[in-house]
Symmetry: C2
DNA sequence: CACTGCGACGAAAACGTTTTCGTGTTGAAA
DNA sequence: TTTCAACACGAAAACGTTTTCGTCGCAGTG
C-alpha cells in the first residue's frame, strides 16, 4: 500500500515548497508557468486528491449535512432522504444519515456525534419518544451552538428554526371532502395517538371537513391506534358493527388493514365502503384495490429541507435572523379504493 | 453565538497550557490532582466536546464508514442500512450513506468523495450500470489505496475483497422445490436480465431444481424483464396462453404483477397457480393473497458487512491478506400465494 | 553543599491544508 | 551605477488535537 499522496510528498519529490505546490494546484498566478505545469502534471499523473479532513479543519466547515430520521425502513423517509441527497450533491455536499430508531436517547446521541464538527448543520424528523417526552433541550443546544437546524414532518412549534411540513390539516380535509363528494356520510377516522403531531393535525382536518359539510362529529367513529404491532386486530375490532360508508386512515397500513377488515365482513371496497389513505407508498400503488391516497411528496420535502439548510449555511452569519416554514402541498391521488364521483 | 469551546480556550481561561488541559481531560497521571479536577470541572460545566475533525486528522482515521447503494427507496436496501447502522453504532462508528442511483458515474464520484479521507472504508452494492459496463477500476483503485471494501448483494467475483451475499442459487432452488412439492409441474420463471448477478444466479437455481426433479428446462417458460417500468404489461403478455401452474419471480414486484395477470385471466392464486417471490418486503406481507417468498435477511447482511469491515479496520495492517465471503442463508416464508402441501 | 530524582507542567511537532507575508533575484528605468 | 518594481517562490501560522520531550523547582541523599 503506497503512502497517501500529500502536498508534502509532491513538494519533496519535485523539490519545491509545500506552498508552491498548493498554489500551483489552485492555479495561483503567483507561480511561474513552467513550475505550475510541472506540478499539475505530476499531480494528475499520480491522481492527487486533497484530504477532505484537513480541508474541513482548515475551513471550519465540512460540506456535510446530517439527517436524523426515526426509521429508515419506511417509504416516506427514504423518499425524503433521496430528495435531500439530490440537492445536497448538486450543491457539493455530502450526507450523513443517522437513525434514531424512534428513541430519545439515540436521537440525542446522534446529535452530539454530529455536532462535534462532523457536520455543518442538520435535518431532523423527531423521534416518537421525543415528542412524547416533550424534551427538546438537545435541539436548543445545537441551535445555540450555531448549528443550523431544519425540522421536517414531525416538527414542534416552539423551536425557533426552519421547518418543512405538509399541510396535514388541508390534506386530511381534501381526503374527507372527497369521501363526502362521492356520497359518503358516515366516515370513520383511523389515526395515531395525538402526541405525534401528524395524528393530531389530521384529526383536526377530519373534524373541520365534517363540520363544513354539516356532519356532526361522532367520537365513536374515531380510532386512535396506540401500537403499530396490534393495529391490524385493533382496526378489525373497531370496524365491526360500525357500518360506515367511508374510512379515512392516516397511513397506508391502517388503510389496508381497514380494507381487509371490511372484506372480512363480506363488504366490498369501494362499492360498499370507500377508503382513503395517507402517504403514497409502494403498497398504495400495488394493492388490490389500489389505494386512493393523500400524497405527501417526500422527495419535495427533502429537497426543500436541504435547500433551506444549505442556504443558511452559505449565508453570512449577520443576516440570519428569521426562520422560514415551508409548506409542501399534498395531492389527492385517486385510485380504486374509492367510488368514482357520480 | 458563542465561540466554540476548544482546548486553547480552556487553557487561556484557566491559565495553563494546552497540553495540560488535554492531559487532564484524558486523566493523565502527569497532571496534579488539583489542576486536573479544576480543568475537568470547567470542561464539564461548559460542556466541552473534542472536535471530531481535528481528531480524525490527528489519528488518521475517521471512525466513519461509507455505504453506497443503488437506490434507497427500496425495502431490501433500507434493511441492509439498518443492519449496518446497528453494528456500526455499537462499535463507535458513524455511517455515511451515499446513493449511486444505479449510475456508474455517480458511483465513481461517490467513491472518490468518500475516499479522500472522509471515510475509513466502505460497503458497496454495485450499480446496475456498473455491472453492465463491467468497469470496476474504481474498486481496484480504492483497494490499492488501502481502503477496505466490502461488497454485498450485487458483487463481482473478480474483485479481491470481502463479500457478503446470499445463496441465490440455493434460495431459488428452495422456491422451485417448494413449488414442485405442492404439485406444480409447469413452472414459469420471471427474472431480470442476466448482467445483474442475482438474475443469473436465481435462473441457475431454477434450472437446477427443475433438473433434480426430472423436469426438462423449457426456455418458453422464462421471461427476462428488461425495464422495471414496463414489467407489468410485459408479464401480462408473457403469462397469456402459457397455462402454467407455478410461477417463481425474482422479486416481489414481478410476483405481484404475475398474480394480477393470473387474476385477469380468470384464474385464482393459489388454487390454480401458485406464486413465489423473492425479498420479504412490506408488499409481500400485506398483499392479498400474502406472498410466499424467499426472505433475504437484509438486516443480517448489513450486520455482517459492517462487522467484516470494522474487523478489517481495527486489525493491524500486517495480517490482512485473505478475504472472506460470508453467505447469509435465505429462508422460505410460506404464506398464502402457494397451495399448501398435500 | 553538590547531586540525583521526581513531580508537575509547558513547548513543540505532527496530521494536511490554505494563505499571508516575507525575501531573493531579475530587469528596466533614472 | 543605483533604485525599484515585478516576479517567483518559501516560511510560517493557523485550524484543534495528542504526544513526546524537555525544563523547572524542590526534596532527599551522600
Amino acid at each position: 500500500m503506497k503512502p497517501k499522496l500529500t502536498l508534502k510528498n509532491i513538494a519533496k519529490e519535485l523539490d519545491v515548497s509545500i506552498s508552491t505546490v498548493s498554489k500551483a494546484l489552485r492555479d495561483s498566478p503567483e507561480i511561474g508557468e513552467e513550475t505550475r505545469e510541472k506540478i499539475k502534471a505530476f499531480a494528475k499523473h499520480y491522481n492527487y486528491k486533497p484530504n477532505n479532513i484537513a480541508l474541513s479543519l482548515k475551513n471550519r466547515k465540512t460540506k456535510t449535512i446530517g439527517i436524523i430520521i426515526p426509521e429508515i425502513v419506511h417509504h416516506f423517509f427514504t423518499t425524503v432522504i433521496s430528495g435531500v441527497e439530490k440537492v445536497a450533491n448538486e450543491m457539493g455536499y455530502n450526507v450523513f444519515v443517522c437513525l434514531s430508531d424512534n428513541s430519545f436517547d439515540k436521537e440525542v446521541l446522534n446529535m452530539e456525534m454530529l455536532a462535534n464538527g462532523s457536520t455543518d448543520g442538520f435535518i431532523l424528523s423527531l423521534a416518537k419518544e421525543t415528542m412524547q417526552k416533550g424534551d427538546y433541550h438537545h435541539l436548543v443546544e445545537a441551535i445555540n451552538q450555531g448549528m443550523p437546524l431544519v425540522l421536517f414532518d414531525r416538527v414542534v412549534e416552539s423551536i425557533a428554526c426552519d421547518k418543512v411540513i405538509i399541510d396535514d390539516v388541508a390534506g386530511a380535509k381534501k381526503a374527507v371532502q372527497h369521501l363526502f363528494d362521492i356520497g359518503c356520510r358516515k366516515i370513520a377516522l383511523i389515526s395515531t395517538v395525538d402526541y405525534v403531531s401528524v395524528g393530531k393535525l389530521r384529526t383536526k382536518g377530519y373534524k373541520e371537513s365534517l363540520e363544513e359539510n354539516g356532519i356532526t362529529y361522532n367520537g365513536d367513529l374515531v380510532l386512535k391506534v396506540e401500537e403499530m404491532e396490534d393495529s391490524e386486530t385493533e382496526i378489525q375490532e373497531f370496524l365491526k358493527e360500525k357500518d360506515v360508508d367511508g374510512v379515512f386512515a392516516v397511513n397506508e397500513h391502517f388503510a389496508i388493514s381497514a380494507i381487509k377488515a371490511i372484506n372480512d365482513q363480506g363488504k366490498k371496497v369501494p362499492e360498499d365502503v370507500s377508503v382513503i389513505g395517507f402517504t403514497d407508498g409502494e403498497l398504495s400503488k400495488r394493492f388490490i384495490p389500489s389505494l386512493t391516497t393523500v400524497s405527501q411528496h417526500g422527495m419535495r420535502i427533502g429537497e426543500e429541507s436541504a435547500r433551506l439548510l444549505i442556504e443558511k449555511l452559505e449565508r453570512t452569519p449577520t443576516e440570519e435572523d428569521y426562520y422560514k416554514t415551508i409548506i409542501v402541498e399534498t395531492g389527492l391521488v385517486i385510485r380504486n379504493s374509492t367510488k368514482s364521483k357520480k
